[in-house]
Symmetry: C2
Subunit: 353 residues, 2 copies
């Protein structure tokens, strides 16, 4: 009997790494994504460069895509949604819906790598005027501009003279219900601050933060570099309000290090929006009957010692579907999940042999 | 020809997870550790509980040990050091030295999981009087006490009334040469603060920090919990000096949020020491001819998209041997490295078949 394939749901970095890993071990894999392209958020969000290594995001994703293309062990289904699952792994029948209708695929194991979605700063309530003021944008909007090789003030199309990042928008915030830290926004904002300084050397860049969570090598490779080589200004402060003044926006709040109120005009305000569980992650949890953990991400049950195990045998979850994750987390977890899915199929075969 | 084994060097959480993964895929593995026990730092350092899930560390390590014991695919060599390597993977002959002399083992691939060592706060210079004052201890000393079910003032053996943690000792510090953030110390200190409050409810606990790097779910599961349920006091401040006064120590510095100098007597001062490359990691890099990255950890060359790849084909590095890593990083990387090592052996066999 040929190996039943592993189904990987979600073709972002985590899912692509899992797919490659499974095929590298000689197992079959079906990669499903509801988008018409592979690459996940880095492609959907037009990311310019990866954090922390500042590698061109499209090049990096293309390399990952190439590694799983034209491989007889790998089937890729784009524009496809997983809509039903019957049975239990390793005897699982998964229904995939696409333009050609419904297709039932027998799979031995599943990896859910459906990732995160960006916090919408207008979803619950108007936060910092994102939907009101043209010059209030998000980290993702900046990526799109940087990818196009420019950084301008949206309302005028001119080069800005003074811009700021506001950290923790949609993170660490009980008011809006997102109690977690999204882990990567400090790093991404700092990376973008460096890129803005490179692209518009006359532009002053400020980052307003609660704690700069620049763990590991991000500390000196991004954070110190931004301060020492690129003169980015990090201010520990709370921004309470953004208002219009003349044709620009004004950031009001408190500099908590200096202990004084601040009121600074900005040409562009960038909201460092956090990660939320994606719709796909919530849907897949429900479909495969896996609980969500308290923050709404997919629950893994192995604690720190088993990062990809869910309560359903043979169904694994990896990357940002399980909680805030940086790219390295997603890649390592994709590999770890690939191993466990293949081992699960192998064990099932040994038992039935 | 039977599979050549993968050699895993270092039997901490990362190495044990890799070992289990390799055997789960049906490949042979030789796990080597120079200690006389498995479990790595959590056992060597007498850790009480894991971060963040507060699971009993010894129980957790025993579970990992059990999972790789009595498996015909797994050979475990304790009290054993890797002292030489000849050839290139997959034709590699590794010499292991132990009580019985030197033994040459043919292996197809290698995973280096030799971890980190704790920063020694007296190594370069007397830092905060660790070697001078009995009541100045480290995070690791606290684990040892907590594991024994007590928390006392070392100089008197009595329950302390006021204790503090000083973060970033041996991290984020250009003076001593450690420019990285060690990633886990904020979480571990907060976990210990909670445990101390549980064990000695009358004891006030302070944490002096630069940034609290409580990423992901650590934010509310540890940091908010410590503040709201356990009344731990987090103070953004710089401690410049610890001196003796009477029979106690006094912490002097500046509360940077309040912008005022502080001078607080403490019964116990706990230094949150960071991670450094372990001697074993440095030695293995040299022995397998792999460069160290700029901070002195083992260099991986795949950036964020390949967390375990070194410049030597078939030689992988995982966990804290490659840089500051939390337990989840170590476990995920152990799995990812296991997959890549098995895939490397498989590919080599396909090429020679």
């Amino acid at each position: 009997m040929p190996d039943l394939p592993v189904m990987v749901i979600g073709g972002g970095p985590c899912g692509m790494e899992a797919t490659r890993g499974i095929s590298d071990l000689g197992y079959n894999v079906v990669l499903v994504d509801k988008a018409e392209f592979l690459g996940g958020n880095p492609i959907a969000g037009d990311y310019a460069a990866l954090t922390p290594d500042m590698r061109n995001a499209e090049d990096a994703m293309n390399e990952m895509i190439e590694a799983i293309t034209d491989n007889p062990l790998i089937e890729i289904r784009l524009n496809s949604s997983v809509v039903a699952a019957e049975g239990k792994a390793p005897d699982l029948s998964v229904t995939v819906k696409n333009g050609k209708g419904d297709e039932k695929i027998d799979v031995g194991s599943v990896i859910i790598s459906t990732g995160f979605q960006h916090f919408d700063p207008g979803k619950e309530t108007q936060i910092y005027g994102y939907y009101e003021y043209d010059d209030v944008i998000t980290l993702v909007d900046v990526e799109r501009m940087l990818k196009a090789g420019k950084f301008v003030r949206p309302s005028t199309g001119e080069k800005p003279k003074q811009v700021c990042f506001i950290q923790c928008v949609g993170s660490r915030d009980r008011q809006i219900g997102n109690q977690w830290c999204s882990k990567v926004c400090c790093g991404i904002a700092t990376k973008e601050a460096i890129e803005i300084r490179d692209l518009v050397p006359d532009c002053k860049v400020f980052v307003f933060y609660i704690d700069m969570r620049m763990y590991g090598f991000w500390e000196d490779e991004l954070y110190w570099k931004a301060q020492e080589e690129k003169q980015v200004n990090f201010i520990r402060g709370i921004v309470t309000e953004i208002t219009l003044r003349g044709d620009g926006v004004v950031v009001k709040g408190e500099d908590t290090t200096m202990g004084r109120p601040m009121e600074i005009p900005m040409d562009v305000v960038i909201l460092s929006i956090g990660m939320e569980p994606s719709k796909g992650s919530t849907e897949m949890a429900k479909l495969f009957d896996i609980p969500l953990e308290s923050h709404g991400f997919i629950e893994t049950i192995g604690g720190a010692l088993n990062t990809v195990q869910t309560s359903a045998p043979g169904i694994f979850a990896a990357g940002a579907s399980t909680g805030p994750a940086d790219l390295e987390d997603s890649i390592s977890m994709g590999g770890a999940a690939a191993l466990k899915a293949c081992a699960f199929i192998r064990k099932s075969q040994l038992q039935t042999a």
